[in-house]
Structure formats: structure tokens, C-alpha cells
């Protein structure tokens, strides 16, 4: 479909995502080598969005697994439908079926609840699998993922090994709240998503708010760039920049729309105070 990474740039641009050649090359490799991609970067730089864009671009459905502390196999891969199994046991209590037949029945696919990872593997169509914020999950869960990421298969003790019909496009994201294991990293392509440069941020603003004046967009991008160099609790991400630009556009008739819409961008009193004293005093 795409013969060169450069072909990806305009296609992704049309979907509303500004992409540089470096990320385009990595996505090109992801599609060609069918190897999972690990995206690391600060919160709000657009890591998750990349999976959605890729899903739109390729026309594949997206399955998202949001990681959290305590996420286990039952919530990520599969779980037996215990209630249904119990019901089946009661129904077949006085029946003719042998013990073995009953066991085969209740541990069959009809009684299996497929969670995101198994759904992505077992699907008839190729899918994009987004494993979001993997750094929030426990190390034990990371170990579960290794088989999936290297062989695209999942082992279920009662059923055996389920191999992917179509290898899913796997994207993992991490905010780097903890270091991931080397084993996991080795199985992935790696890309660090940085905050956008001034030029890129300007392009993003214009893409999302086409009618915005260039001078205003430049002013917004320049402020945000400066804010990222301040010691803030939460540096503004791209989504916040867009929200701010939209806020300014709405409040354009107010006295000082840039200052009065700062709450779209900054999420704590400490950050407000720092920005006010450093940039607006």
C-alpha cells in the first residue's frame, strides 16, 4: 500500500495529524516488519492518537487495552464465564454425557469471555491493538505480554495455544513512570515522542483551527513553548494547546483573551502562579 515512508506523511496529514519523517519511517517499518511499536514520551504529546490515526489510515478496527495497577490476565486476555459454566453443569447433571464430555463442553469457546488481547489475536480481520500506558501495569503483566508480542499467540491452559489469524498492528504507549523490562523493549520498535517544535505546533494549531489568524497562532505556540521550559507540575501537551487556542478564539472579544483562557492550558494553582509571574507580569 505504501512504498516509502514519505507516502505516509500526506496520507496521515489528511487525517489531521502532523507527522515528521522520523515517525513516518517508524510507522512504515511497523507495517512492513509487523513488529510491535513502543511509543514513549511525556503525557499529552499525542502517543495514543497515533494508534487511532493508524487504524483510520489502514481501515482496521482498533482494540484498546487501558493498563492500570493490578491489571491481570482475566481482564486483559480471557476469563471463563463461570456463571454460564455453572448453569451448564446444573443442566447436564442428570444427563447422559460423560465427565470428559461435560468438561470439554464447559471449557469450550462458547464459555470463554474474550478480553481485548484475545479479541485482537482471534479476529477474522486484521486489527490495531493499542496497549495504552503499559507503565501503569505491574511487572507480572508485562511478562504475560512477551508471548503475545514475539509470537502473536496466547496460551490458554484448557484450550491450548491460540495463534493470530492476522497479526495485529500492536502499539504500546508509556509515560515512563517506570522503566519497562528489557525483554519487552527488545520485542518492539522504539520511538520517543517529543513535544513538538515551534513550527510543528504552529501547523497543528492551524490544522485544528483553520480560521485562526497566523499572528495569533504564532503567539499561542510561542507562549506554550516558553511554558514547557518553566518548572511546572504539568507541562502543557498538544491537546491543551489546541484547547487553549479554541478558548482564545471563543473569548476573542474579551479584554485579554490569552490570559483569561489560561485555565484551558494549566491545571494547577502552582502552574498558574508560575506562568503568571514568569510570562504575564
Amino acid at each position: 500500500m505504501f512504498e516509502n515512508p514519505k507516502d505516509l506523511i500526506p496520507a496521515i496529514d489528511e487525517l489531521g495529524y502532523v507527522i515528521e519523517e522520523e515517525l513516518a519511517t517508524v510507522l512504515f517499518l511497523l507495517l512492513k516488519l509487523e513488529k510491535p511499536l513502543l511509543l514513549e514520551g511525556n503525557p499529552g504529546v499525542g502517543k495514543t492518537q497515533i494508534a487511532y490515526i493508524l487504524s483510520d489510515l489502514m481501515g482496521y478496527d482498533l482494540v484498546r487495552l487501558q493498563c492500570y495497577e493490578g491489571l491481570d490476565v482475566n481482564n486483559a486476555i480471557y476469563e471463563w464465564n463461570y456463571q454460564k459454566q455453572l448453569l451448564a453443569i446444573k443442566i447436564h447433571e442428570g444427563g447422559q454425557k460423560s465427565e470428559k464430555e461435560k468438561e470439554d463442553l464447559i471449557f469450550g469457546e462458547d464459555y470463554l469471555l474474550k478480553r481485548p488481547l484475545l479479541r485482537a489475536i482471534d479476529s477474522e480481520k486484521r486489527m490495531v491493538l493499542l496497549i495504552d500506558e503499559i507503565d501503569r501495569s505491574d511487572e507480572e503483566f508485562e511478562a504475560f505480554l512477551l508471548e503475545l508480542l514475539s509470537d502473536f499467540q496466547i496460551s490458554i491452559p484448557e484450550l491450548g495455544t491460540i495463534k493470530a489469524i492476522h497479526k495485529p498492528i500492536v502499539i504500546l504507549t508509556s509515560n515512563r513512570t517506570r522503566e519497562l523490562s528489557d525483554a519487552l523493549k527488545r520485542r518492539c520498535l522504539y520511538h520517543w515522542v517529543n513535544y513538538p517544535s515551534m513550527e510543528k505546533e504552529l501547523k497543528i494549531i492551524k490544522k485544528h483551527i483553520p480560521h485562526i489568524e497566523t499572528a495569533l497562532a504564532e503567539q499561542i505556540a510561542s507562549y506554550v513553548q516558553k511554558m514547557r521550559n518553566l518548572k511546572l507540575d504539568k507541562a502543557p501537551g498538544i491537546a491543551e494547546t489546541i484547547d487553549w487556542a479554541k478558548g482564545i478564539a471563543v473569548l476573542q472579544r474579551e479584554d485579554d483573551p490569552i490570559y483569561s483562557s489560561l485555565s484551558c492550558l494549566l491545571k494547577s494553582e502552582h502552574d498558574m502562579n508560575v506562568v503568571t509571574s514568569e510570562l504575564f507580569s
Partner: protein, 378 residues
């Protein structure tokens, strides 16, 4: 010399690059090399930039490795006649430069006398730079290592705090509550589908750190203070004091998000820095003035001191015993314990030892990280 032109074919050159990358610290394997060849076959080798981006995504697995990758790539594929010093060249060097010790260490700078002497060092074959850094004695760190350790300690303490929180969370789930489980499962016809576990009451968890900043601790107190600052930003319930001939509460001084600012604030207030040591009297002062407020049955008390006390041993014995009774656990970490052949025979240490739950070392970052197991079991 590592350069692609030394090889006869492109795939050989790629294998050569993979080996060069491995020698210079990147964790590349055969799979990486195979995939590098595959990516080249996709036509990426025709464009220099795309080729470098592709190799970077395959060979570098973190943002730090990415920074390492760029010069290796440039020297191998682009430049001629330059060479990156091989890591192995450093590994077996028998000498390292060591800064000599100056007793007047200034808070906030940590700088010591710049006159240098060379001393014997242990061979560290097989350990990577992070591991070496963690194991380096604080008194032997150079300026670059200091900076690296600052970054590393922030990361490791953050991970440590995350692990402790998770472990404690898991420990809150207790035994199966049979009565509750039976009642809950009546709706399933008595089949035990949902098991209910008893929940332990979450204890309020406190940490108290008493840092010795007397003259004899000069080589270590600055780094321990930095460690304290990092701890402060990852553990909510922490109280910190410095002591030498007098006691100073520094909890609030460490609150600044900027390390340099925090250290500067401590330095403005710490009049007793680098003076003598009266551990017993300072602990007594703590017991009298602060213990009621900051100690309860759930406090883990950590004393960071070399135990070289010039006060009366009886005062210390009484004060440390009181401290032990009011704390859940009393831990003493002594930087001197990391020295080969160290014996706790000084009067101060000898007096305190019987009252301690744990006596460990605090001479390098690795020894401080052993706090994790103490904190988990506290």
C-alpha cells in the same frame, strides 16, 4: 576502526554496525541485525535519513540509548577517521581519578578540593555504567557522576516508591472471609463463585529521617541530603531533621521542587553544618521537643550517621532507647559500614547498636536502595 567501508557488502556492514553498537553500550542482538537487514531491503537504505531513523528505532530502546545511538551511527556510516573510545578500554583501567577530601564541604555545591590524586580502583568488568554508579562510594564521585547519579536516583527512588505502594496495597488483602463469601454466593445457589477477602486497615505510614551533618560526615552528608530530597518527593509522610551539635527540622526546607533551591534553603538555615557531633544530646532534644508530634507506632525511624559521637554515652543510650520505644522500627545506616574491615567499635555506635532493629551501610546509592525491603516490611 569501525566504519562501513571496511566491509565488502552492505549486509556485512550492517552486521559490523550491530557489533559496533553492542560494543558501545547498546543492547542489540541477532534479531536486531536481521530486522535491520529487512528494513534496508524495504528500500530504506536509499535515503540516509530514513535509514538512520529505521536503525535508531531498532537499536535504541530508550531515549537515553537514542542519544547514544546518534554519534555511533554518524561515526560508522558518515564520518571517516574518527573513533569512539571503546567501553572496554575504560573497563579494565586500573586507575581512576579521585578527588581528595576537603573537610569544608559547602552545602549546595558538594565541591571538594580540586587537587587530584590517582588511586587504585577495582575492576568492574561485566557491570554496566548504571550499576557501577550505584556502587560507587559517595566520597569518590566526580562532578559528572554526581549529575548522573542525581538523574538516576530520581528515577530509582520513584520506581522504589511505586513498588512499595503496590506491595502494601496487595498486603491489604487478607484471608478469605468465609461468612461473607457464603452470604454473597447465596445468589449463585451456594456455588462459591466470588470469594470475599478480609481487608486490613490501612496503617498511616510515617518515615522519620535524622541526618548527621557533622564534620566527620562531610564526605557523605551532601549526597544523603540529596537522597533525602528525592525521598521527600516520593513519600508523603516523611519528616527530616539534620543534627550535629544541634537539631534542625528541614522537612519544609526540602519541599521546593527545585533541588538546588531546596539545598540553598537548607544551607541558609544549617548553622551547625560540619561542626562536632553530639548525637545523644540531639536525639534527646528530638525526644523532648518533637517525638510526641512526629512519632507514633507506625513510624520507621532512620538515623543516617557514622556514629562518631563526642557526647556522653549514657545520654545517647537513654535517648536511642526512647526513640526505639516510640518507633515501629529503628534503623541506623552508617556510611563507614561500607568500608572493608569496618567494626562498630566506636563508643557512639557501640552504645546505639543494642537498640537497633537494623544496622546497615549508606556509603553508596545501592546501599540506600536496600531501604526498600525495610520499608516494605515495616
Amino acid at each position: 576502526m569501525d566504519h562501513y567501508s571496511n566491509y565488502h557488502s552492505f549486509s556485512e556492514a550492517l552486521v559490523g554496525f550491530s557489533q559496533a553498537a553492542r560494543r558501545h553500550g547498546l543492547s542489540t542482538g541477532i534479531q536486531c541485525t536481521k530486522e535491520a537487514v529487512a528494513s534496508a531491503l524495504e528500500g530504506l537504505w536509499l535515503d540516509k535519513d530514513q535509514f538512520s531513523y529505521a536503525l535508531c528505532s531498532l537499536f535504541a530502546h530508550s531515549v537515553e540509548e537514542k542519544q547514544l545511538f546518534v554519534p555511533i551511527y554518524n561515526r560508522y556510516w558518515r564520518q571517516r577517521g574518527t573513533r569512539i573510545n571503546d567501553k572496554r578500554d575504560y573497563k579494565n583501567k586500573k586507575t581512576v581519578k579521585k578527588q581528595s577530601v576537603n573537610s569544608a564541604v559547602m552545602v549546595g555545591t558538594g565541591q571538594q578540593d580540586s587537587s587530584e590524586e590517582t588511586v587504585e580502583s577495582k575492576t568492574t568488568t561485566g557491570s554496566n555504567s548504571k550499576e557501577t554508579l550505584k556502587k560507587t562510594d559517595f566520597s569518590k564521585l566526580n562532578v559528572i557522576q554526581e549529575k548522573q547519579l542525581e538523574i538516576l536516583s530520581e528515577k530509582l527512588v520513584s520506581e522504589m516508591s511505586l513498588r512499595i505502594k503496590r506491595r502494601r496495597k496487595k498486603m491489604l488483602h487478607g484471608q478469605i472471609d468465609l461468612g461473607h463469601s457464603i452470604r454473597k454466593n447465596l445468589q449463585n445457589g451456594g456455588a462459591m463463585i466470588d470469594l470475599i477477602r478480609t481487608k486490613h486497615k490501612k496503617d498511616k505510614y510515617r518515615l522519620l529521617v535524622l541526618l548527621d551533618v557533622s564534620g566527620s560526615m562531610d564526605k557523605y552528608s551532601f549526597y544523603l541530603l540529596k537522597f533525602l530530597w528525592t525521598l521527600k518527593h516520593h513519600f508523603k509522610q516523611i519528616e527530616a531533621f539534620t543534627f550535629s551539635t544541634s537539631l534542625l527540622r528541614i522537612t519544609e526546607l526540602l519541599q521546593d521542587k527545585d533541588l538546588a533551591m531546596s539545598l540553598a534553603r537548607v544551607s541558609q538555615n544549617a548553622k551547625h553544618w560540619s561542626s562536632g557531633t553530639k548525637i545523644g544530646e540531639c536525639l534527646k532534644e528530638f525526644n523532648e521537643q518533637y517525638a510526641k508530634r512526629y512519632l507514633n507506632g507506625n513510624t520507621l525511624t532512620i538515623v543516617l550517621s557514622d556514629g562518631l559521637d563526642t557526647g556522653e554515652p549514657e545520654v545517647l543510650a537513654e535517648a536511642i532507647e526512647k526513640l526505639k520505644l516510640r518507633s515501629k522500627k529503628l534503623v541506623w545506616l552508617n556510611p563507614l559500614k561500607g568500608m572493608q574491615g569496618y567494626e562498630p567499635i566506636q563508643m557512639g555506635m557501640k552504645t546505639a547498636l543494642p537498640s537497633l532493629h537494623h544496622f546497615g551501610s549508606a556509603h553508596n546509592f545501592d546501599s540506600l536502595l536496600s531501604l526498600e525491603s525495610i520499608l516494605i516490611n515495616a
